[in-house]
């Protein structure tokens, strides 16, 4: 599955897609395929603060529970309610399924994230080791 070039990526396998001051955050195809069938998503509430590199929730698969790390700091403006009943959306369309939307408080943080090419190189390295 291709990694959208307009997205930015974390080394913890989240992506962020920014429009204006709002960033949509989800997990990558690599993350969903490592986790396997996702059965539950634990997301924050609208109005909660999230911090770059800190956990903001977790995804649970049949195999494991994995923390979600925020690519950027800000305030949650929307939570994808659909994932409550259909968490498998993430498995089907990882790059089209956002988990939360965040009003970014410091867009400069995005500069430290990976672009698609750098992220693909990073996961190639992870798969090697």
């Amino acid at each position: 599955m291709p990694y959208p070039t307009e997205y930015r990526y974390t080394r913890e396998h989240e992506w962020i897609s920014v429009e204006g001051s709002i960033g949509s955050i989800g997990i990558t195809d690599y993350a969903q395929s490592s986790l396997g069938d996702i059965v539950y998503v634990d997301a924050p509430k609208v109005g909660d603060a999230v911090t770059a590199n800190a956990t903001f929730g977790s995804v649970e698969s049949v195999k494991a529970v994995s923390d979600l790390y925020s690519p950027a700091s800000g305030t949650v403006t929307a939570v994808n309610e659909e994932l409550k009943t259909a968490p498998d959306k993430i498995n089907q369309d990882p790059h089209g399924t956002w988990i939360i939307k965040v009003e970014l408080s410091n867009p400069a943080e995005l500069n430290s994230l990976l672009d698609a090419a750098a992220y693909e190189a990073f996961i190639a390295e992870e798969t090697e080791s």
């Binding site: 956990t55 049949v62 195999k63 494991a64 529970v65 498998d88």
Partner: protein, 502 residues
């Protein structure tokens, strides 16, 4: 003879044949009205008007409970029990869980009438025997761990973690600042971050180094004056001993942070090294792992917490103390205590079993069990490392972690191999844990297994590796020899059916 059977349909000659019902219905489905498994004598006391006593809570329609005779109930549960797999049937190599044999001497001692019938409300003066058992177990565990004080109250490992971090918090509070965060390595048991969060701490992840151990530079960077503790499992969940443990303790202590040790893997250390000697401030033990008391449905757990002297004032109440005259009593006057963490004194039946195990083995015997556990794990490692990928080359202690990398190339994952192992008559190993290994196969034989049983297991694992090459679909669709075929785990997690409905 065999051709006769084939000719005449299912084998019906002889004394034994298969029961017509291989699958067992639910009790609700077997129910028929009016059946009873008891018979009460005629009422010989005045009847009570339950409607009047209960008011609005009085139930007008009786609850829908299954109605069966005694033998039907006995058969139901006995049949179900034959579906089970237990350590008494064969090797149970569930990594990290330490499914060791529960020696019969433990059970014998626990059933001695005076111990089995002991009651927590019996006066202390008449309970000195039971109290002595608790006291002797405490002293044995302190000797084994090299710690100063201990509580036996917690009912399981995670409960022990919770208690240990409560002590940590109480101590920091007494120093004027409870602090804010707890560091947890990415190889940790999932209960560690859960514990830290429940006690009100933020969890900060600590990356493992290339050997699967703690990265000392990262630790130094991350420990600060807001760090309450590091929760460390040693040996780690990779079965690797943290050889830098002294330096880890020093780095933490320099910033006033404590070292918590998750004692889940203490069975690799007993009689060899003592956490108290390598800088641990507080730790829990799992009597149901290291000290051979039953678990996995076989009985309650027990998670004693041992600590250094400076944490002793905060231990849960009551604390067992000795009077001048030698009598033991419970001390409730503990102003700095975190309070009770469990009713009464803990799972006393487990204390008796653990003490029986310790005394039956003695110091040399315990050391031998540790050596045998490590030897067995390394035997498996050596015999399987040419067919399964070993992601970390560091020397193994009591368990070995492989990955499914080679088999995954043929589409066969760790979960498939585990399910195929059932066909070979073994309980699966631990699947997909620790998380730092992609597609982990975590195998812990314990000291209980003989070389013969280990060889059978190794043969099974090698055979599955071969099948993964030659006939991957056979492994991917396993198990084949069980009453029910592969269950839909995803559906079970997403849409579980939790109750019977008429």
């Amino acid at each position: 003879m065999i051709s006769d059977t084939e000719k005449n349909g299912p084998r019906t000659l002889g004394k034994v044949r298969t029961h017509p019902t291989q699958n067992e219905a639910l009790l609700f489905e077997k129910s028929s009205p009016g059946k009873r498994a008891y018979k009460l004598p005629p009422l010989d006391v005045p009847a009570v008007n339950s409607a009047k006593l209960l008011g609005a809570a009085h139930r007008t329609t009786p609850g829908l409970l299954p109605e069966l005779s005694e033998i039907e109930i006995i058969r139901h549960f006995t049949r179900l029990s034959t579906w089970n797999y237990a350590i008494d049937l064969g090797m149970y190599p569930l990594g990290s869980c330490t499914m060791k044999y529960n020696p019969r001497v433990n059970e014998f001692v626990a059933r001695i009438e005076g111990l089995a019938e002991a009651h927590p409300y019996r006066p202390e003066s008449l309970s000195q025997g039971a109290l002595e058992i608790i006291d002797l177990l405490r002293r044995c565990l302190l000797e084994i761990t090299g710690m100063d004080a201990i509580t036996l109250q917690p009912a399981a490992g995670a409960h022990g973690e919770f208690t240990g971090i409560l002590l940590t918090r109480a101590w920091h509070e007494s120093q004027g600042n409870p602090r804010r965060k707890i560091l947890i390595p990415d190889s940790a048991h999932g209960t560690n971050p859960a514990t830290a969060a429940i006690v009100g701490y933020a969890v900060e992840n600590l990356k493992s180094n290339a050997d699967g151990g703690i990265d000392l530079d990262a630790l130094t960077r991350q420990v600060d004056e807001e760090t309450a503790a590091l929760m460390l499992t040693n040996p780690s969940t990779l079965g690797v001993f943290e050889s830098q443990i002294h330096r880890i303790a020093d780095i933490l202590h320099a910033k006033g942070a404590l070292l918590y040790m998750d004692g889940a893997n203490m069975n690799a250390l007993v009689g060899k090294v003592r956490p108290g000697d390598f800088g641990v401030d507080v730790m829990h033990l799992n009597l149901h792992k290291t000290f051979s008391t039953p678990h996995g449905g076989g009985g309650p757990g027990s998670g004693p917490v041992a600590c250094k002297a400076f944490l002793e004032p905060f231990l849960p109440t009551p604390v067992l103390v000795q009077n001048q005259d030698g009598a033991l009593r419970w001390d409730y006057d503990r102003p700095q205590s975190v309070g009770r963490v469990r009713a009464f004194y803990g799972n006393t039946g487990m204390f008796i079993r653990a003490l029986a195990y310790i005394l039956a083995n003695g110091p040399d015997g315990l050391r031998q069990t540790t050596e045998d556990a490590v030897l067995n794990a390394n035997y498996i490692r050596k015999k399987l490392e040419d067919v399964y990928e070993l992601p970390y080359q560091t020397a193994s202690m009591h368990e070995v972690v492989f990955s499914d990398k080679r088999q995954a190339a043929r589409g066969v994952k760790t979960g498939d191999i585990a399910k195929r192992l059932i066909d070979y008559g073994f309980h699966p190993y631990t699947v997909s844990f620790p998380l730092i290994v992609h597609g982990a196969l975590m195998i812990e034989p314990t000291e209980s297994e003989s070389r013969e049983e280990l060889d059978l297991f190794i043969d099974a694992m090698r055979s599955i590796a071969r099948e993964a090459e030659e006939n991957p679909d056979l492994v991917k669709s396993a198990p084949h020899s069980t009453r029910v075929s592969r269950l839909d785990e995803v559906q079970a997690a997403r849409k579980p059916i939790l109750r019977w409905r008429p």
